[in-house]
Amino acid sequence: MAGALPRPKRKSTKSKPVVAPDEVLYTDTDRSGDTLDLELSSLCPNPFNKRAKRGVPELAATIKEVGLLQSIAHITADVWLKIYPETRDQITAPNVILFGEHRWLAYQELASQEAGWETIPSVLRDDKVEDARLITLIENLRRAQLSPLEEAEHYQALREAGLSYEQIAGKVGETANGAISKGTVWKRIKLLDLAPAVQQALRDGTLRVSAAEKAQQLDHDDQEDYLSLVRGGTHPAEAQAQILARQRQDEAPDTASPVSTGNGGAEPAADKPETVSTGNGAPAAPPAPRKPKQAKQPSGRDKDEADRRAAAVAREASCRALLEVTDVTDPANSDLILSVLTAAVLAPPQQSAAQQRAFTWLKETSRHGLDAADAATYFAAIQDSGDAAVQRLAAFAAALAAAELRTAARRQSWGSRERNHVRVLQEHADYEPQTEWEKAELGLVAAGETR
C-alpha cells in the first residue's frame, strides 16, 4: 500500500531541531513602538535638527510642575548609522533623539538640580529611521515657529535627500497648518541665496519674509541697498521698484537688462535704446519715465508705472519658479501645460521674443538641457534633439514667456488674457499680486483678498 509511495522528507530524524533565528521567541525585547526609560546620557541630539534651542529653562519649570506630558522618541545609533553614515561624528551616544530634544535638555537641567530626573521616557522608533529627516522637519514645523531661514534649510536638506519641490510640499502640507504649495517651498529655499546681510536681517526679524522675497531678483549689492531702503521705512514694493528703476537707468544703453524682454539676442542690439522692447510687435510701448527721480512724491501716474514694473518683475520670478518646479512629464501637470499653450496659440504670435525670454529663464533655472549660443539656435537644437520631455518644457517655457511678455507690455487695462496669465501663476506658482495697481487690474478691490 504505502510501500509504493516515495519516501517522505523527514525532520524528526535529526537529533536537534533546526530553528531559524526569526523563530526564536523575543530575540528583540525592545521593539519599535515600545516606551523605554532611558538614561539621559544614553541619548544624543538629532543631527538633522536645525532648530535653535529656545526656552529650555521654561520648559524645565513646566515639566517639574506637571510632569512630562508626552514621551520623546529615539532611534538606536546602530540603526541610525546604517541609514545616515555621514552623521557618524555627531552620534555620541547609543541612541539618537528623533524628536524631543528640548524636553531632553530640560530633563538634563532638572537632573542637575535634583535627584529623580536621571531617566526620560522615550518611544523606540527604529522603524521610522528612513523618514527621520522628514519627521524632524515636520515635528519642528508643527511644534514651533521655525524661522523662515531654518525652514529653508530643512527644505534644502530634503531637496538634497532627493525629494522634489512637489513631494516636499505634499508631505509637509499634510501636517502643517493649511496647505503648502511647491512654490512656497521654492521661494523659501531661494531665501538661502540672499545676501548675508539680508539673511541676517531676516534672522533678526528686522525684515519680513515677503520683503526678503522681493529682494531675490536683485544681485547682492542691490539687495543691500534694498535692505537699507526698507529699513529706512520705504515700503518694500516701492523700494524694489526704485532699485529696479535705477538698474534700468544704468543699463538701458546696453539693452541687456534683467527685465529686458530678451529679444535683444535675436535681433541686432536695440536700435531704440530708450525703449524697453516688449517684443510683441505692437507699436513701441511708450518708454518708461526715465527722468531721474527729482520728485520725492511720485505723481499718481508715476506710481502706477512703478507698480506696473514691480508687478512685472514679481511675476517674472513666479514664471521662473513655475518653470523650475514643473515636471512636464507628469500627467498631473497636463492641464496646466495645455492651458498655457492654448493661451499662447490663441494670442497673436510673437515667437522670437518669447523664445528669447524662455531661453533666458531655462538657463537661469538650469533646465535648458542643451547648450546653445542664442535662443534661435537653442530652439532649433531642441527640435532636433527628439527628447520629448525637453521639447515639452521648452514649449511650455516659450508659451509662458509669451503670456508674460504680453502682460508686462499691456498698459491699458487688462483683458482676460492678462488676468488668465496671472491666475495661472497664482494657482501654480504661489504668486501673490504685488501691488495695488496689479490688484486693481485683477479686479481685486480689497487688498487683503488676493485668493
Binding site: 500500500m1 504505502a2 509511495l5 516515495p6 517522505p8 522528507k9 523527514r10 525532520k11 524528526s12
Partner: protein, 302 residues
Amino acid sequence: MKPTSVTVDPRFRPKRRNWPLIWAYIIECGGSTKSTSATSMAVTAALRGYPGVVFDLDSNASSTTVLGYDEDALKGKKTAIDLLYGKATLDEVALPARYRIGDGDDPEEDFAPIPNLRVVPSSPAMAGADLAIAEDADRNDWFGEILRSYEGDDTVFYLDFPASYGKMPYSVLRMLDEDDSVIPSIKADPKDVKLVKKLTDELERIRDKNRGRRSVPGRPTLNHLLLTGAPTATHNEAAARRATAAAEAMYGSVLLPYIRYSADAKKLYEDECPLPILLPNSVPSVDYRKVMTHLGFVDLAD
C-alpha cells in the same frame, strides 16, 4: 472536474442523497488527537482506493499542514473561510493532499501527491468563523449549501474541528444524521474521557434545536468513539488504564478498536506528513488500518 453522474457504492450515499458520509472529529478537548485521527483515517482509506476530502475547520490548520500545505504554500489560495462566506465552491477550495519529499517549494519536485485525497485548507481567519455566522444568520447554511450542490464521487467528508462548540461547529453538525458519525477521538486519559459527556450533551442540544425542521437533518449521532494512545505492555500507566476501563464501561457500544500508544505519533507535525505515510509500520498506523477495515474500508486493490 468530476463527472456529474457518478456511480458510488450506495453505502456512501445513504438515503440516496448526493453527498458522502460525514465523519465529524469533534470534542471540546485540546490535543485529543482529532487531527491525527482525521488525517490518518482519511489517508488510510484514500490509499486503499476510497476518495475523500478532509475539511480543516480549525484555525490552527494542523491537518492542512500534515496534508502538505503550510502558510506560505497557501498564499493567494482560497480556504475554508471562503467556503463559509459563500465566496468559493468546494472544488475551487479543495487542494490535492500531498506530502514533502524534497527541500524546496516546487509542487512537482518537492511534493508527492496522496492519491484519492483532497484537503480544504484552513486559515487563521477561521478563528472568526463563529463571529461571521453570528453577524449574518444566512451563513448558518454554508455547509448545507455545499452538500446540496455536491456532485462528486467522494466516499467520506472527514471534518477536523477546533476544540470548541460554537456557531460554526453547530452550522456543520446540524447537517448530520444517524448515517453519519460524530467521532470523538480522545486519548486514553481521564480528562479526555470525562469530556465526552459534554459532547453528547451538545449533540442533544443540536437535536432539540432542529427537531421538526425539514431542510436540516439535525441528528448528529455519536456512532464511533476512538481511543488513542491506549496502554501497551511497555507504555502502561495507571491513569491510562483507568481511562480505558472507564471508556469501555461507558461507551463500549461505540468504541472502535484501540489505537495503541507510540511515540511515533508525535512526529507527524514535525515531519508534516500523515502518520500512515510517514511511518506505515508503526503501531498506530497498523491500528488505524484495523479501524478502517472494521468500518468496511477494505483495500480495493486486493
